[in-house]
């Protein structure tokens, strides 16, 4: 029988990573993510894995991409300033299709901000932080148990689609302790990238132009292939042909778009008959859940939609719920980021209200309840 354990979000994230097959971690200390590095430094040698503290976050991102090319499952964890430094290489991993997982335990920004305080200001950066069109997948855990589950999911998506996956945690989720019942090792679904059978006739980036995922050979096994961040053709070598570069961008973007219905993840509560829908993710969703329950206790038809896949956003299910709703409230710990995605999806079918908070402390459920009860009927 799996037993209940008390643990922190960052700890659950590390254990999830190890359960998913993590065996290479490179990182640089930064609050509030450091526990993940500390725990990896202790646990990975026990299983023959590797831990290295790099000279900065750019080096950390580079090292995990290098490790992944040898066939290892690799991860780094960071927060705001470090996440900013990693952006170029997130694009590199997208372009070269090297699976990596990056945990961003969000803190208050911009710049150094407040390292030990809560914010959710990296939503747009997680999607578009690197230059150029590029695919990424972003997952947001809403409690400690989900840090475990979604880190496993992050590895699986990364391996299956050969994309960088970002686990967008936050200071409260990362540092909060909760009771968690971890699943038994055998019951966890683990994915691994598809490898070619033999070096003969291996064409590294040959794939269905409609979002196909090419086979990935590990370095050191006789494939002798070339990896470059330059626009490349299916052989992996650089091209100056605009139409070839364009087809690559389209395939890369389509890869994630096509997989969206499969990787889509969200939770709902009381949405069957709701007039007022609250859309919240991460730590804000904890307060939102409480607010919705309090509203229901008052007889108000409130419901909750909590995306766990943030990018790509679970558009279809949200659109369906919004079509039956009058008002949508979007509480988030920033001046408004995910609300614009919700507005786009609502497309005028319901009024969308922004509920921003940037004073570094978690929403009180009452603040969201007030928005639910105080608005137009």
């Amino acid at each position: 029988m799996p037993e209940a354990k008390l643990m922190q979000g960052n700890e659950a994230c590390t254990l999830g990573a190890i359960a998913a097959g993590l065996n290479f971690y490179a990182g640089y200390p930064i609050t509030p993510s450091t526990e993940i590095a500390e725990m990896c430094s202790e646990e990975l040698p026990k299983i023959g894995g590797r831990f290295i503290q790099m000279e900065d976050e750019i080096g950390s991102a580079a090292a995990i991409i290098g490790a992944s090319l040898t066939g290892r499952k690799s991860m780094t964890a960071t927060s705001g300033p470090g996440f900013s430094l990693m952006q170029e290489l997130i694009g590199y991993a997208s372009m070269t299709e090297v699976p990596i997982v990056i945990v961003n335990v969000q803190r208050v920004g911009p710049s150094t901000g407040m390292p030990t305080s809560l914010a959710q200001g990296d939503v747009m950066q997680a999607r578009w932080g690197s230059h150029g069109d590029h695919p990424v997948v972003v997952l947001a855990p809403g409690n400690v148990g989900e840090c475990y589950e979604l880190t496993i999911k992050a590895f699986n998506i990364s391996e299956e689609l050969r994309v960088p996956v970002i686990l967008l945690s936050d200071e409260v989720i990362g540092h909060m302790r909760e009771k968690v019942i971890l699943p038994e090792a055998g019951s966890i679904k683990i994915s691994k990238r598809k490898e070619p059978d033999s070096p003969s006739s291996y064409v590294p980036y040959r794939a269905d132009p409609d979002g196909g995922v090419p086979l990935m050979a590990p370095f050191g096994k006789g494939y002798r292939w070339h990896v470059t961040g330059l626009s490349h053709d299916e052989t992996g070598f650089p091209t100056n042909k605009g139409e070839v570069a364009g087809a690559l961008i389209k395939r890369l973007m389509r890869k994630v778009e096509k997989a969206e219905p499969l990787i889509r993840d969200y939770a709902t509560e009381s949405v069957e008959d709701c007039d007022i829908l609250v859309v919240a993710f991460g730590s804000s969703a904890m307060s939102a859940t409480s607010a919705v329950r309090q509203a229901r206790a008052k007889g108000i038809k409130a419901g909750l939609f909590r995306p766990k896949t943030i990018w790509p956003f679970p558009e279809e299910p949200l659109k369906e719920i919004i079509s039956r709703t009058k008002r949508v409230i979007v509480p988030e710990m920033n001046t408004g980021q995910i609300v614009y995605e919700v507005e786009r999806i609502a497309a005028g079918k319901a009024t969308v209200e922004k509920l921003s908070k940037v004073n570094c402390e978690l929403f009180f459920p009452e603040e969201i309840l007030e928005a639910i009860t105080g608005g137009q009927k």
């Binding site: 254990l15 190890i18 359960a19 097959g21 993590l22 065996n23 290479f24 490179a26 646990e43 040698p45 026990k46 299983i47 023959g48 894995g49 590797r50 290295i52 790099m54 000279e55 900065d56 750019i58 080096g59 950390s60 580079a62 090292a63 995990i64 991409i65 290098g66 490790a67 992944s68 090319l69 040898t70 066939g71 290892r72 499952k73 690799s74 170029e88 290489l89 590199y92 971890l182 038994e184 090792a185 966890i188 683990i190 370095f219 050191g220 096994k221 006789g222 494939y223 002798r224 292939w225 070339h226 990896v227 470059t228 961040g229 330059l230 070598f237 650089p238």
Partner: protein, 286 residues
């Protein structure tokens, strides 16, 4: 033709380098050294950053990784630590290695990780058409130093030794024999080995500074390089304006990945009752 051709992706040739560029000379010296040592090409990974020199891996028949500007050594660190049995070679330039990649360079040297780094120093950013680099001598011209470079350049050999590199050599693309010998020794060295190759960029550095073409630049290398052994017996004034080439540093020191593997064995012995998996998680050994 010699057996080093076997190490080239001949279907990727001709290369993009300008006539008279030294990068082909260095790439040739590297492949001859690999051929001489009989190194299995399935066991080699060549990593580069961005710039003219960093295009070399595309022409070489190994697993090759053309990374982001300055980051080659950090990628290479991930590869080497993952799979220490691989021979990992980094090809880089003066700007790539000592400007944007300076931090990774000093830390790779400090760790003494078993990677061979070959720096093709042509004193200029060639790919972006002739800006001054951290290794452009003071007073020389670049497109971003139109009145002469006021900055002081690195002495790369000193930088490498001070940072902890355990094998350090310097040659020029004129002294091809020495270059090959140094690369061979670097490849055999267990630890962080560095070979700086001073070469000409006739297209930008030569033209901008009115040094002349490829031939004049090779002659400059011939006339101004003094072997470190010969220099030891020369009066100081005779060395004015000259630079030294040869083997500068060669020491044995604990190598990073071996030390880490030892640490793993030590930790695993300590947890010898460890039944595969951390706190009931599945074992992910390689």
């Amino acid at each position: 033709m010699s057996e080093n051709l076997n190490y080239f992706r001949q279907n990727r040739l001709p290369h993009i380098w300008c006539p008279g560029c030294g990068h082909g000379t260095v790439t040739g010296a590297l492949t001859r050294a690999l051929a001489k040592l009989g190194i299995d090409k399935n066991n080699v990974v060549v990593v580069s950053g961005i710039g003219c020199s960093s295009r070399a891996p595309g022409y070489l028949d190994f697993d090759t990784l053309h990374t982001a500007h300055g980051r080659a050594l950090a990628f290479a660190t991930g590869i080497k630590l993952s799979k220490p049995s691989l021979k990992v070679i980094v090809l880089t330039g003066d700007g790539d290695c000592t400007a944007i990649g300076g931090n990774h360079f000093i830390h790779a040297a400090r760790r003494n990780i078993d990677i061979t780094t070959i720096v093709m120093n042509n004193s200029i950013y060639g790919m972006t058409s002739g800006q001054y680099s951290p290794m452009t001598p003071t007073g020389m011209l670049g497109t971003t130093a139109p009145y002469g470079n006021v900055e002081r350049p690195f002495d790369f050999v000193k930088l490498a030794i001070a940072s902890g590199a355990t094998f350090v050599g310097r040659s020029t693309t004129y002294h091809v024999q020495l270059l090959g010998d140094l690369i061979e020794k670097a490849l055999l060295h267990k630890g962080f080995s560095v070979v700086e190759s001073i070469g000409g960029c006739p297209t930008y550095y030569g033209r901008k500074n009115k040094i002349g073409g490829a031939v004049e630049m090779f002659e400059w290398q011939k006339d101004n390089a003094v072997n470190i052994k010969a220099a030891a017996a020369m009066p100081k004034e005779k060395l004015d304006g000259k630079f030294l080439i040869g083997e500068f540093h060669n020491e044995e020191a604990p190598e990073f990945t071996s030390q880490y593997i030892e640490l793993i064995e030590k930790v695993q012995r300590k947890f010898d009752d460890f039944k595969g998996g951390v706190r009931e998680c599945a074992q992910n050994s390689d």
